[in-house]
Subunit: 208 residues, 2 copies
DNA sequence: GGAAAATGAAAGCAATTGCTTGCATGGCTT
DNA sequence: AAGCCATGCAAGCAATTGCTTTCATTTTCC
């Protein structure tokens, strides 16, 4: 009895993905697009390929679905710090790595982030969760920059604004691409953006 | 007959603000907070201090209210370019001025911007309007930077990423403050942020 | 094979919501 | 004084929506 009935094909239908997961996935997609109110349980059930009543067998209320979805944001800080674990050849390498980590983190959670942005005012839990995110990223980078300064790899200065500018760049790119649906080359070529932004943050545009 | 019945006190009540304006204002506020769907006509009427039926006497449908509100975004480009009209002592002054213009522009329209962000997926007109905004700001600044380069005040380089970073910073600050409700000193002291960000964009953090 | 678990199908209910209709009221203009 | 105009008030309607109940069916586990 080490492994009680985990892994079975969802009841009565020959599909692989668990019903519960399909519901969550559909809800995530719809809420991100249409907002919490716009994602009606009928629409969710349709997209999930499930009867509406099945939703309420898995989740007590509609809010419970939202709460379940929000759990994805919690371990952001650890992931960001983890991405900065190793040794770096120089500051620029560190910046590029951090940019990549952060941007991927945003893209991976794009639906939930959109839900947060859209529902920020309607659900207090969402605000609380979400508000921690933007500044966490700035903080973690700020700490790393300070570390580099103390090791003599960077001149001493207030790293806050620098971190803010760097993080902002990728958040903006993220929003432009995934929320507004903008399709501009400067944002589309991610690797180049990491590189250019790191260069500018270090050298400024006075010395190219 | 030069001036037909403009200026009268709103029908039957001793208040200054026109009914129509009060409705628009209430709708703007609610839609920004709760989204289009969350801003019910009942709530709008309450906040406006007006009977619900009055709303439909002024606007044919609820969507018509939204469309009216969106008109505020149209003249953004002109305003941005206008803020860059005069002569500047140096590049840094130009950047600070542009940052101030852009940030104020965002704050002045914060409700409508929130509506756009929240409703981007539900209303095609909104997407169209809104999608033009972020890159307009980047473009205008990019052009100005190119101009400075051609005048020999800046070394030649691709100004796109620089402009993107600069604009991003203030958009992020704007979102953090007005959407998420964050209250951090680095964002709260606007003038200092303009100054620091301009400095970093020009010199980088390698030479402070 | 048989019980239990999971799902589907149909119906519906109470609350909400965008919007309408009909009528009364009070101020403004002439 | 008279008529117009903007508004308030009460009622309501059709559609939507979150959620429930009942019953039949299929799948999984032992």
């Amino acid at each position: 009895m080490d492994q009680p009935h985990i892994e079975y094909v969802s009841g009565g239908r020959g599909e692989e993905q668990e019903t519960r997961e399909r519901i969550l996935s559909a809800a995530r997609q719809l809420m991100a697009q249409k907002g919490y109110k716009g994602a009606t349980t009928r629409k969710i059930s349709e997209l999930a390929g499930v009867n509406e009543v099945t939703i309420f067998r898995h989740f007590k209320t509609k809010v419970a679905i939202l709460e379940e979805l929000l759990k994805d944001i919690l371990e952001v800080r650890e992931q960001l710090e983890q991405g900065l674990q190793g040794e770096f050849a120089n500051v620029k390498e560190m910046l590029i790595t951090y940019a990549r980590t952060y941007y991927h983190l945003l893209v991976e959670r794009k639906e939930i982030l959109m839900i947060c942005i859209v529902e920020a005012d309607n659900h207090p839990e969402v605000v609380k969760l979400f508000s921690s995110l933007p500044m966490t990223a700035v903080e973690v980078l700020g700490n790393k920059l300070t570390e580099f300064q103390e090791q003599g790899h960077l001149p001493k200065s207030d790293p806050c604004t620098a971190a803010l500018m760097f993080i902002s760049t990728f958040f903006y790119a993220f929003m432009a691409k995934y929320r507004v649906g903008l399709d501009v080359p400067i944002i589309d070529d991610e690797e180049q953006l990491y590189e250019h932004a790191s260069e500018i943050l270090l050298q400024g545009i006075r010395r190219v």
